[in-house]
């Protein structure tokens, strides 16, 4: 038995991980020097979550989304959100076809593998809520007709934290649909030099030349594989304790919902999968904890990092099982 413990087979060399490594390489090429962000994007993708990126303009949000869409071989669609954007502009609408004399459904950009909703907080609440159903249910209802979205439907929304004029901050219900919130941040000096060197002599348009590395069905099976990663009772306890900690912290107005807890577990599973393990450790939980909590907890913006650190510090890691192995 302990032989098994020592030499537990790790399916790192399986085809699953080869595919993931390919996506990782593509994203790292598109977004230089941000391997942490890329890792979290991969975690989010494998966990079938949606991603909210909050950062300043020009840091590569769109580049990342496009590269991801091309890498997973799906259709990429982009919606630039403005106050006059209507729900139909996203979901699609029915038009009367003169030839067939029938109403025909024209699918909107939401029918894509990867949807980039740029500056989502500029859309009106009505339009934002149209995305709600699409993100949560992976289906769109237009004129009482329900249209299913692809199984690997993945939303990357961005918002600009600086300009607040003419924006509609996302309501908590909408925020809870996102799996995590990421910040990209400025690249390091070396990466910027490399970026500049690479830009010399290339065309004006920033087209990302990416060959698809896997097809959507393959991604779907990867996501199913992730869902089967083991979560032991100790780690489950740890997750529940963390959730309770978010609910009882005095500076958190809105604690972690059960849906958020489920998403957290799935993200930890995805992270464990990326690490080549088929079981989740508290390291995985902690690693994805920050982005998961940041998107859905009601905390003052300035106090966010401090409060999140306090919450993580307040819950001990289960190192010795309580049942009394020792």
């Amino acid at each position: 038995v302990s032989e098994n413990l020592l030499k537990r087979p790790v399916d790192r060399n399986s085809t699953h991980h080869a595919a993931v490594d390919l996506i990782r390489a593509v994203l790292n090429r598109a977004l230089r020097g941000k391997s942490n962000v890329v890792e979290h994007v991969l975690v989010c993708l494998l966990a079938r979550g949606h991603l909210l990126i909050e950062d300043l303009p020009g840091l590569g949000k769109t580049t990342l989304a496009k590269a991801l869409a091309h890498a997973i071989g799906g259709r990429f669609a982009r919606v630039q959100c403005t106050p006059d954007l209507l729900p139909g502009d996203i979901t699609g609408f029915r038009v009367y076809d003169q030839k067939t004399r029938e109403f025909e459904f024209l699918p909107g950009p939401v029918f894509a593998a990867v949807l980039l909703a740029d500056e989502i907080n500029r859309a009106t609440p009505r339009t934002q809520s149209a995305l709600l159903e699409a993100m949560a249910e992976r289906q769109v209802t237009v004129d009482t007709v329900c249209h299913n979205l692809p199984d690997t439907f993945f939303v990357i929304a961005t918002q600009n934290p600086v300009e607040q004029h003419g924006t509609y901050p996302l309501p908590e219900a909408q925020l809870d649909r996102f799996a995590m919130k990421l910040r990209i941040g400025y690249p390091g000096g070396d990466d910027e030099r490399a970026m500049l060197a690479a830009a010399v002599g290339t065309g004006g348009e920033d087209r990302v030349e990416v060959e698809p590395v896997l097809e959507p069905t393959r991604l779907y099976s990867l996501q199913n594989r992730v869902a089967k990663v083991e979560v032991g009772p100790l780690v489950r306890d740890y997750l529940v304790n963390l959730a309770h900690a978010t609910r009882s912290h005095r500076q958190v107005t809105l604690g972690l919902s059960p849906r958020g807890l489920l998403i957290w577990q799935r993200l930890a599973q995805a992270r464990a999968f990326l690490q080549g393990r088929d079981y989740v450790t508290p390291d995985d939980v902690q690693d994805v904890g920050g982005p998961v909590l940041e998107v859905r907890l009601g905390i003052e913006t300035e106090a966010t990092s401090r409060v999140l650190a306090e919450i993580m510090v307040s819950v001990p890691v289960p190192v010795y099982s309580r049942a009394g192995s020792v």
Binding site: V1, E3, L5, L6, S248, E300, Y320, V326
Partner: protein
């Protein structure tokens, strides 16, 4: 869970300070009145030391091991039981106190002590919010109650400090509960400067009111309309509603309260010492005197004068031959008579009032009054009067008493012997006092008014010094009056024989006196009713040889006669005996009643000092009092001698302790590693956890304790590679194994089984390689 995060340090400190102040106030409130304030405060400090240590330890252990704290505000049953035990402890001790000492404390004192214990227990647990709040509440209650029980500057200082600490506590608690909604985080800092300024302003106002000019500070009071009269008092005022004290005492016809020459002649129903004698020992037989009628000439006839009362005659006598005392008449409900005196201070206590030196076989004659003025001098600045009598070196430390005059009417002061200082109310006239007899201070021509409190400080006798006194030298022989008897009395030869038989084989000195006292106390019975027959001519002989029982005055007489026959100067003393059995815990006084009138004997030392001995069984002389410094000195000397005897052991154990102090971690690690090697290896998972615990303990002792919220991988494998399997480091391998055994569910199910040799080798390698010193040198945890 957040509720259990180690609290704001300021709030914890404020809570502990409030508890300390509450404890001090309770100690002041429930202290016995004669206990010094310093001792009470020291007691409170001693109680706080373990509390602070425990609070520090718990706060620290929670920081490292939050596992030990229950969540969701649960309180473990152990804590509940411990707090209940603290609450009950004073009552349990009270049972023991009643059993051993026979007297208990008042219920409110017990209740306060138990609530104080609870507060201390809660303060020790102040790493949890719930207990912080409870502890603050309890300390507030304690201060509120004990402020009503104690007074004085110390109590006021405690209340002021408590108020300051409480304000700080409330402000910090309120501040911590605030949530700042503004976009800027500027408001989230505690406004130390503002609070300090407010406190400074309030404090300066109070300081000005306290130390500033009285008139200026109370000028507002003058603006307020009143019904007239202030607390202002001028001792030299005259012609107003009240003359000042100085005017009254200086006027020719004082009509205010005070001693007057005439007061002694006023009729009084207060009992004198003689009244107490008659009640207690019975009336003496009145001698029927044979009188012959002789006719006098007209010129010899004077107006008939009434005989003065027995109490007021000069040369009073105390006849030994007396009627049996009548039993005191039963009063309704057996009410106790009003006490003659009330004593506050250590008992038993002998209060001499009158001495007798001449004995004629039946009567003791009162020693003549010397009427010499006392060698007293007043201490500057107060009303204490100090006796400037040279003192021989037979004394231990000073004992203080307060004696309140009840109904006793007496001119000699009922004060203990060997006085050092005394204070009688506010009397500061030295000529009011004089010697009645040697060693007995009296107020000249007046009695002490009822209600007067006499404060005394007297030396206690050290019996060890008495044994060293040399009685053999002839130059220090006692005056003849203390050695001889009147012409009519000869000591019975059988009595002398008895005296010699008691003291045979003992050298001349105090040991002989002790032998006589011991023999009397051992062989004779105290019986107040066994008075000698009316026709007895030698009460001492009758008592010693025939009846062998009698009241205390016969014991005193027998001791005096026996000791005089052996050549020691003696006299007998009458007065009062304050018995510790009469101590009243309610009033904290020992009342002295009429029944406490008592006779004892005094022995004259070569220097002229009189030392009391107590020949009557059932009575005790006051034990030797030692001061703290004497006690500590004696303990230090004894300890020093003992250590000197065990020199080698002490050096060895000192070295051992030093080594233990310096290397306890290494030694403990050796032991634990040995225990780990012996531990069973049937269960892989348990064994892995045991190994990892050993490693973690080494890291903690090396100064790198893993915080409870940090995973082992983050802490011990600083730059965790993407795949830990590739990590060559043995510690990383161990952590990987531990993770698998803990978190992989299938391993959990199948962990029972023998340990593979390879896995055991890995564990052994880690234990061998990752020693304490390696952890000390490593940068574990610093990179995470």
């Amino acid at each position: 869970v957040v509720d259990e995060i180690p609290q704001d340090r300021v709030i914890r400190s404020a809570t502990l300070a409030m508890t300390a102040l509450a404890t001090a106030s309770v100690e002041l409130g429930i202290a016995e009145p004669d206990r010094s304030k310093i001792a009470s405060l020291a007691g409170a400090a001693a109680m706080m030391v373990p509390v602070l240590a425990l609070a520090w330890y718990l706060g620290r252990s929670v920081r490292w091991r939050p596992n030990s704290v229950r969540r969701n505000g649960e309180v473990s049953s152990f804590i509940v039981v411990a707090l209940l035990a603290l609450l009950v402890l004073p009552f349990a001790m009270e049972v023991g106190r009643l059993f051993w000492f026979g007297r208990g404390r008042m219920l409110e004192v017990l209740l306060l002590a138990s609530v104080r214990n609870l507060g201390l227990g809660l303060a020790a647990l102040s790493h949890r919010t719930t207990f912080i709040r409870l502890s603050a509440l309890v300390s507030l209650f304690l201060v509120a109650v004990s402020s009503a029980m104690a007074e004085g500057a110390a109590m006021i200082a405690i209340i002021v400090l408590f108020a300051a600490a409480g304000c700080l506590w409330l402000m910090r608690s309120y501040w911590g509960a605030l949530r700042f909604e503004g976009s800027s985080g500027r408001g989230s800092r505690f406004p130390v400067g503002t609070v300090a300024m407010i406190l400074a302003v309030v404090g300066s106002v109070f300081a000005a009111a306290a130390v500033g000019p009285t008139r200026a500070a109370t000028v507002l009071a003058g603006l307020m309309p009143t019904s007239g009269g202030t607390f202002w008092n001028d001792p030299d005022a005259q012609g107003g509603v009240n003359d000042g004290d100085n005017e009254v005492s200086g006027s020719e016809k004082p009509v205010s309260v005070g001693f007057t020459e005439s007061e002694i002649y006023l009729e009084s129903d207060r009992p004198s010492l003689y009244d107490a004698f008659s009640e207690q020992y019975g009336e003496p037989f009145k001698r029927t005197k044979q009188e012959r009628m002789i006719a006098l000439g007209q010129q010899d006839v004077r107006g008939q004068k009434e005989r003065p009362a027995e109490n007021l005659r000069a040369g009073r006598q105390f006849p030994m031959v007396r009627q049996k005392p009548t039993a005191p008449t039963k009063r309704p409900g057996e009410r106790q008579a009003k006490a003659l005196l009330y004593i506050k201070g250590p008992c038993p206590l002998h209060l001499p009032l009158m001495t007798y030196d001449a004995f004629d076989g039946v009567d003791w004659e009162e020693e003549p009054h010397t009427y010499r003025s006392c060698p007293l001098e007043q201490e500057p600045g107060n009303n204490w009067l100090r006796l400037t009598v040279p003192r021989p070196l037979i004394f231990a430390s000073v004992v203080a008493h307060q004696i309140k005059i009840g109904t006793l009417e007496s001119s000699p002061l009922p004060v203990p012997a060997h006085l050092l200082r005394l204070r009688v109310g506010s009397v500061n006239r030295l000529d009011f006092f004089g010697w009645a007899q040697e060693g007995i201070i009296q107020m000249m021509d007046r009695t002490v008014p009822a209600g007067t409190t006499i404060e005394t400080e007297a030396r206690s006798v050290d019996p060890r010094c008495l044994a060293t006194i040399d009685f053999t030298s002839t130059s220090v022989r006692s005056p003849e009056c203390y050695l001889a008897f009147s012409d009519r009395y000869q000591v019975d030869p059988a009595v002398s024989e008895l005296a010699f038989s008691w003291t045979s084989g003992l050298p001349r000195g105090w040991s002989q006196v002790d032998a006589v006292v011991a023999a009397l106390r051992r062989d004779y019975a105290h019986d107040r009713k066994a008075t000698p027959p009316a026709d007895c001519c030698d009460v001492a002989g009758h008592f010693l040889l025939t009846s062998r029982r009698g009241p205390d005055y016969l014991f005193a007489t027998a001791a005096a006669v026996v000791l005089r026959s052996l050549g020691y100067g003696t006299r007998i003393v009458s007065g009062f005996y304050a018995s510790p059995e009469r101590y009243d815990p309610g009033t904290r006084h020992t009342p002295v009643l009429g029944e406490d009138v008592h006779f004892w004997t005094e022995v004259r030392l070569p220097g002229g000092t009189w030392v009391a001995i107590e020949p009557t069984p059932g009575y005790e002389v006051m034990g030797t009092a030692f001061s703290w410094t004497e006690y500590l000195g004696a303990i230090a000397v004894a300890l020093g001698n003992w250590i000197k005897g065990q020199y080698a052991i002490f050096v060895a154990s000192g070295v051992f302790l030093a080594v233990l102090f310096r290397f306890w971690r290494e030694l403990a690690d050796l032991f634990l590693t040995f225990a780990w090697r012996l531990s069973p290896r049937r269960d892989t998972r348990r064994w892995l956890a045991r190994t990892f615990r050993l490693v973690e303990r080494r890291s903690r002792w090396a100064g790198h304790p893993r915080p409870a919220s940090t995973t082992p991988r983050r802490w011990y494998v600083p730059s965790a590679p993407r795949s830990a399997v590739d990590q060559a480091d043995d510690l990383a391998t161990l952590i990987l194994l531990v993770e698998r055994s803990l978190y992989a569910t299938d391993e959990t199910r199948s962990s029972r089984g023998p340990i593979a040799a390879e896995l055991a080798a890995t564990c052994r390698q880690v234990v061998r390689n990752w020693t304490l010193s390696r952890f000390r040198a490593s940068r574990v945890g610093t990179l995470s």
